[in-house]
Structure formats: C-alpha cells, structure tokens
Amino acid sequence: MKFIVSSSYLLKQLQVLGGIINNNNTLPILDNFLFELDKNSLKVSASDLETTITSKLNVESNEKGAVCIPARLLLDTLKTFPEQPLTFTVEDNHTVEISSSSGKYALAYADGEDFPNAIELKEPSATKIQGDILATAISKTIFAAGNDDLRPVMSGVFFQFSTEELTFVATDAHKLVKYTRSDVKASETAEFIMPKKPLNLLKGILAGSEEDITIEYNESNAKFTFENTEMVCRLIDGKYPNYEAVIPKENPNKLTIDRNQFLNSVRRVSIFSNKTTHQIRLKIAGAELNVSAEDIDYSNKADERLTCAYQGDDIQIGFNSRFLTEMLNNLTSDEVSLEMSLPNRAGILTPVDGLDEGEQVTMLVMPVMLNN
C-alpha cells in the first residue's frame, strides 16, 4: 500500500478529525486514524466510539489497503512540514514510512481491521440544512446545555424537526434557549437529542459554510454529511423535558434596553456580587433600570442606573449574573427585551433586531429568589 498526498491538504483534514479523539482512551486503537485506500480515494476516520467522523481525500495511488496510524504522532509531524508532496509506504515490518523532501520517518501501524466499524444507519429519515445555519443554531443553544450526569438528556441539544420549521433547544434547568428557523423545513416530524461533543466539532467545521449539509437520523443515531466528510454519532437516549410548558405565556412587564449597555453594566456590577451566588438585583421603575449587587462577607457593593423603555408594574428581581452575561453575550442584536411576570418566574430574553428572515431566538432565565 502506497500513496502520495499533499502535506497541508492532509493536515487540514486530519486536524478536523483529530477533534473527536479523546486524550485518554480505554481502547488504545482509538488513538489512531484509520486510513482506507482505494486507488485515488483515501478515506480517513477517527472515532471515540460514540462518534465516528470520516473524510475522503484525493491522493495519487493505484493500490488498496487499510491501516491505523497513531494520530498524535502523525499530526505533530505534519504540522512541521512546509507544503510538499508526501509519500506514505506501508512496509513489511509493520511500519508506515513517510518520505518528505527532508527525510524519512517510520511509524508503527495497527491493522485496519482492528479499528471499530462506524455505525450504519438503518432506515434513516433525512433533512437538508445550510451548514452556516446549523452552525449558528448550535452556537446559539449549546452554551445553555447542562452538565448533570443525573439528567443526561439535558446535557445535549434537542433537535425538533417539523414540516414547518426546525427547532433547537438546550437547557440546564436554570436557563433555556430555543432557536427556531422557519425558513428551513423537514419532510416529516422528528425529534432527537444530540450530545455536545460532536456538535462542538460541527460548529467549528461548518461556521461560514454555504454548502448544504444532510442530516440523516433514526431512533439511536444521526449522520451529518457535507462536502467530503461524514459524521455518525450516537444520540442521547431518553425523553426531552416538555420545555414549552415552562415558557411563561403572560408576561405583562417588558423591559427594552441597549444590549451592550446592559451587558457592560451587569458585568461591572457582578464583580461586586457574592462570589458563590453571583447574584445581582434588577429594580425597574418608570424608565429606569437599577442594577445592583452586594457581597455582605466583604462589604462590597455596586449600584448602577440605566435608562430603558419599560412597560409594566415596578418590579424587583434577582438573577445569577453569570447566566445573564452568557445570554447577553450570545445575542448579537443592538437591543434586547426582557419580559417578566413575577420575581419567581422565568424572565424571557429576546433580541429586538438583527434577526434573519424566519429566525427566532427565545432565552429563558430563572431568577434567584431574593430574601428581602
């Protein structure tokens, strides 16, 4: 088995695939890339058992074969080369020899059959979505997903497809984000929960891509196909909580404010908040928003006043400032609105401007019950 490939082209592909490889694997074979050569087409795969990602590369060859090459070693080597053709030759003594313009390097390889097979999807449904849109949907939601091992369903992002729109939801029970695109539709309704790790990888690869990506899915797995790459991953098993039920319907108190101004104020004031609760207090009366925090242990205190547009009764409500900053940071609009009903009910944060046609973002944040 022998092939010739451009060093930077190979490195670019391998760096994407390498993102899925765990730092400490229980199965040593997973520290490798699987190289499957079929004449001019080279398939490279990486896996963590949950997710397998495969890219097809064009190479110069007229041979066939499959080997596993240590990922770390190969990546470290490739990074150092200036662009040039590299020749990979599988030798008889169980090593792969790479020859570059500067010299020769030998790596021990394992047999291709040792690498775990990627899951084949049986009877999948399929939906197409533009890469950039999916990347946005992921980055808008993924930060709100939880880390609680006791509620694994909430550690992923909920994909809800229908013939009218696509919805993406993430929550950790303290905050919730719902991202809807009515300009993209599925051929039939479907729901599944995607784990965070492959989504983070997709987010990176797909950002800014105008190409369409095909999502195929069944009960237990999902497959994302784009350009020359496909990613198959296991879904999170379980039923996603009924998030619609927790979105308050009647919110008579509505605050509209410049997002940057609000964000900066929250950031500043939160420095003075309690170091464990990160709690800040919003007091809204008339056209004035009062943001304050206090750390009794250290006698630290901050108080700011902002002008805002407000409709509703005077209200005093506490929030964890970290949640607010995360959410305000994630939005890109100039102005945001915060709708509230009572100090013990979720606040609904939405962007006022800057949305695409058919795009909708709803963020929920649960307050902190204030003592006085």
Binding site: A173, Y243, V246, T276, T277, D297, M366, M369
Partner: protein, 369 residues
C-alpha cells in the same frame, strides 16, 4: 470465665502531624523546620506541630505563647482547612478502594474494617502497608497504622510505631498487649481519669484487669464497665460508615420550669442561634422546622411545619419557631425546649448543582420540568 473475642480485622489509620505535614508539603521552605499550625497570638492555640517542633516539646492544644517560649525558631502557619479537607478526601478515596466500612474520626484519622475487603487480601497487616504506601504516593504524606481485632486496640497500636510506622496486635497477643499497656495510653483516659485510676492503684492494664466488674462500676460508673471489657479485648463497637445527616437539633433543659412564653422566647433565641450555627457549620439548610416541648410532667409535645424554602439563618428559624410556639396554649410549665431542622438539602450540597444557600435564603430557582 472469658467471653470469646469476636475476630474482626480493624485498621486505624492516623496521618502523622497532618496539618503541619501538609503545610510542609505545600511549602518546601518549611520542610525540616519546626512549624506550628495555629495562631501565635495571645489567645492562639497550636492545632498541630511538626515533628521538628515536637522535639522542643511543642504539642497540639498548647497555647501559642507557651509554644514560642519552648522553641525560639518556631514558625507559625495559618491553618487552611479547605486544603486539609481536600487531601483528606483523597485519602478517604484510597480507603474506599479497600473497604466500604470506613469510619472517619476526623480529617486525619479513620477506622477501617477489612475483615471482608475488596481486594480479597486476608492480611490486614499487608493491607495497612498498602494503604500507607498509596497515601504516600498520592499525597506525599506519611501515615501510621494500628491493626488489631477491635477499634480500641487498633487505635492504641497506631501510636506505637509513629511516625510512619505500623503495629499489628494479633488476636493471641491482644490480652498481653493490653496488660502491659500503661493506663494513660488507654484511649479515653485523659488527665482526670488517669488521676482517678492512679488513686485506685491502677497503673497498667494488668492492674485494671485485677479489679472486679462491681468494683469498677462502683468507682467509675458506666465507664468502669467499659474499661472492664476493654482490658479483656472485648469491644463490640462496629466501624460505622459515615452517613448523611438527616436532621440537626439543639435543646436546653432549664434549671427551673418556665411558664411564661416571654421567657421561652428568650430561651428559644439562644437555641435558634445554636441551631443556625450548626447548620452553617455543616453547610446545610433545612425545610422542616420542629419545636420540641417537654412539660414539667415529662410529657413530650412536638410541633412542626415545612417551609417552601431551605432556611439556615437564626432570624428565620426564630420567626418560624415563634409561630409554632404561639400555635396553641401551653398545657403546663415547661422544663425543656428544643428546635430541630430536618428535610435538609444534603442532596443539593452533594451535587453542588446549586451553591448552598449562604447567610440568607436567596435561592436560585429552577425551571419546573
């Protein structure tokens, strides 16, 4: 007649000069120097002294001033309990590799019952060795161990080859070991008990053994019976694994019975302060509050209510206890009042999902899934 000794395999693991060793480990400049963890101020007390400092006679619980007098170059280090707890956690993890029957006595010592252990190792001596080795590997600290058939002997034995050693007292040697043991080395015999024992001519285990059960009971009360058994190698106290706290309470019995609610309120304020202090110490808060009333005729009454939120502050406890107190009229004059908090938020604490409520009842709310 001798009662057969139930054979268990108990290990008592004790870290050597734990706080001081941790400080020396974290700050190599202190290595090999006499250090004392604790305050050097007028009222300060040494909570731990390194072995270098002990050579000068510095002991724990000694006043900082006296310690300084004994040892001129003594370096005082401020205690960092979080750090000790962190290391203690690592050590406990090691214990659990061997057995689930672990009874921690404090941050730096614990009893282990290894009669049945996870490694299937029949030798408690070898297990103790392995544990000490692992502690050294993982934390860099030295531990000593005592191995025997019950907690008492194991505890006494762990002191014998300290520091960084271990001592096994096999079943057949337990009796002779206890006989030759100085009475002041008996766990639980402090300054006062030692004096009393000495007055009765008891200087060693052997002397103690020669006294009859009745004699000991007459002169030492309940603890007399305890020592009668102990010196015969009999102690049935099991190794009790740590359990999560279900409730927390404080109560006071009054010198004179109280009939006025105004006075009761005053007493309840003291009790509430104590409960709040204990809650905060254990970093928990409770939802259910119970008022316990013992009347002068010894009848007992409890009144309780459950709140929508976890509370831990004195003011809130008192406010709710007041409601309970005035709920109905007292039947009689009262000899005891108590407040207990249950329905504790132990779970939340364990998961650290939401930070434990601090001084107030500000609570991060959750979406209701």
């Amino acid at each position: 007649m001798e009662t057969p000794i139930p054979i268990r395999k108990i290990i008592h693991v004790d870290m050597d000069a734990f706080y001081a060793s941790v400080e020396q480990l974290d700050n190599p400049d202190l290595m090999g120097k006499p250090i004392a963890v604790g305050g050097s101020s007028k009222r300060g007390v040494v909570s731990a002294a390194s072995y270098e400092a002990r050579k000068f006679g510095v002991r724990s619980a000694m006043s900082g001033v006296l310690a300084r007098k004994l040892c001129d170059e003594l370096i005082f280090v401020r205690p960092r309990f979080e750090r000790y707890a962190e290391i203690s956690k690592m050590i406990r993890k090691i214990f659990f590799e061997f057995t689930d029957l672990v009874e921690p006595l404090s941050l730096d010592e614990a009893y282990l019952d290894v009669t049945e252990n996870k490694k299937g190792n029949p030798s408690a001596t070898l297990i103790a060795k392995e544990i000490r080795q692992k502690i050294k590997e993982k934390t860099g600290l030295n531990a000593s161990a005592g191995i025997s058939i019950n907690k008492f002997v194991a505890k006494v034995a762990s002191d014998i080859n300290k520091p960084n050693g271990q001592k096994t007292v096999p079943p057949e040697e337990v009796i002779s070991f206890l006989e030759t043991l100085d009475i002041k080395k008996f766990y639980g015999v402090g300054k006062v008990m030692k004096e009393r024992m000495y007055r009765h001519g008891i200087f060693t285990g052997k002397d103690l053994k020669e006294k009859s059960f009745e004699y000991l009971e007459e002169h030492f009360g309940k603890s007399g019976a305890y020592y009668y058994n102990i010196v015969r190698g009999i102690q049935h106290s099991k190794v009790k694994p740590e359990h999560t706290r279900k409730s927390l309470a404080a109560e006071r019995t009054f010198n004179e019975n109280i009939s006025s609610e105004v006075f009761m309120l005053e007493k309840l304020e003291n009790i509430a302060t104590e409960v709040a202090r204990r809650l905060q110490k254990s970093k928990v808060a409770g939802k259910t509050i119970t008022l316990k009333i013992k009347y002068s005729d010894f009848t007992l009454q409890t009144r309780s209510k459950t709140l929508p939120l976890y509370i831990s502050s004195k003011d809130l406890i008192l406010e709710n206890v007041k409601d309970l107190l005035f709920q109905e009229k007292m039947k009689d004059s009262v000899r005891l009042l108590g407040i207990s908090m249950s329905n504790l938020n132990n779970e939340a604490k364990k998961k650290e999902a939401n930070p434990p409520p601090e001084q107030s009842i500000d609570v991060q709310l959750k979406l209701d899934f």
